[in-house]
Subunit: 249 residues, 2 copies
């Protein structure tokens, strides 16, 4: 068996998330079925992160084990051909050691959350950004975000369905920047709780609208209580951007 690392880009709109679901289409199912058509083998796709319905990926790292002898470039081209017309693309494919695991070897994950801060409905960016009509104070959002950086109990920002053993995570980065009418939130950590990024962004948006004072973010974190969550941002503004591994240098 040879292990291939795949970098996946996908539009999450038509999927019930990355991981296989009983009740609807998933990125995992599409890739595994494309691989079966290419190779005649049942493969299992493992990925660095799990994503919810509607969440996108620019560079999700995944792997599959294959018995058949095939060159990485040919595998990538064949998978892309068999994935059409679904909005999933393999943008990179390489052979990795057998002990490299897309999920368990991953030591860093980063996301970007994109907000369209405008009154007009979205057209070209529909399902790509969260539209927030109230003017957002991105500097206040950035300041509030810094209270979350570091090692904390993120219970407030955790879905009730989260399966992680512990609510304690170390958030390495939470930066808010504006470019024209777009406000972007960049988040990086070794790993995240379920809904953590969307929950943090939702509360940051309340700060940006002036509905929460900046200090309330630290108070919400300290409360360690899901009831303190102000708002969960919708999934379609969220992008999985990158996964990092020890060998990445």
């Amino acid at each position: 068996m040879t292990r291939f690392a795949l970098t996946l880009e996908f539009d999450g709109t038509p999927f019930f998330g990355l991981q296989r679901q009983k009740d609807g289409p998933s990125v995992q199912q599409s890739v595994e079925e494309a691989a079966f058509r290419v190779l005649g083998e049942e493969v299992r796709l493992h990925s660095a992160g799990r994503t919810d319905t509607g969440v996108h990926a620019l560079a999700m790292r995944s792997h599959i084990d294959i018995a058949k002898d095939i060159a990485p470039f040919r595998l990538m081209e064949a998978l892309n051909a068999h994935l059409r017309p679904e909005p999933i693309a393999v943008t990179r494919c390489e052979v990795v050691p057998d002990d490299w695991h897309a999920r368990f070897s991953c030591v860093g994950r980063s996301y970007v959350y994109r907000i369209a801060n405008r009154r007009a409905p979205l057209t070209l960016d529909k399902n790509r950004l969260w539209q927030v009509p109230q003017e957002l104070d991105h500097a206040a959002m950035h300041e509030a975000a810094q209270a979350l950086v570091g090692c904390h109990d993120f219970t407030t920002f955790r879905s009730v369905h989260c399966q992680a053993d512990s609510p304690v995570k170390t958030l390495d980065r939470l930066d808010v920047e504006r470019e024209g009418e777009e406000v972007r939130v960049h988040a990086a950590a070794r790993s995240f709780l379920h809904h953590q990024v969307r929950s943090m962004v939702g509360c940051l948006a309340l700060v940006g609208m002036g509905r929460w004072p900046i200090e309330r973010m630290a108070e919400a974190l300290a409360a360690r209580d899901r009831q303190e969550l102000g708002l969960n941002a919708p999934p379609h503004g969220l992008y999985f951007v990158a996964a990092s591994y020890p060998a990445d240098g």
Copy 2:
């Protein structure tokens, strides 16, 4: 009657172009119908440019004349509410003098053409960029483009269906730049012939692929012969970016 200038953003994918068509949906028809629902008046939308099926607009300038007394902000909000769920948005609305005409007063039009220069199929950017898998030499494309800048007979780059009186136009700008895997072509002129931008971009792509030497662009222009056209780029990479007017300062 009061004349309102509207700035329109739209995703051209589901439309048979901006202008009203007998045989399919158009941006003009959608806006006029939304205005009728808002105002109870039949209005006629006039726009700075005509766009083909699949071509997008970031800021198309248009105008309508309205008998009813309504504030610009309220008109914009009501039009946007009634345009849903169609991918058309009014991003700006203002009262203009009766002799201001979105099409006839316009003295400058600019477009951007977006190319995704990559092998992998597009996912999030499907119908937003033209995917070109062969590596493009954007510096060669930019150099070739300069042969087209200035006042020329653009017959080679003109659709056989073009209704303009003359094939002579002054091209003010044709710049090619790369940002990562995206190659963008910026075009500006007082006005363009039908298919002119797409035809110029198609030939520039041939230069970028190395299938045309740089000099061939000037030769194709000088031939003044549609048969010399190498390639017409597809509509979905094209965006109408801006229209300018004498009073714009």
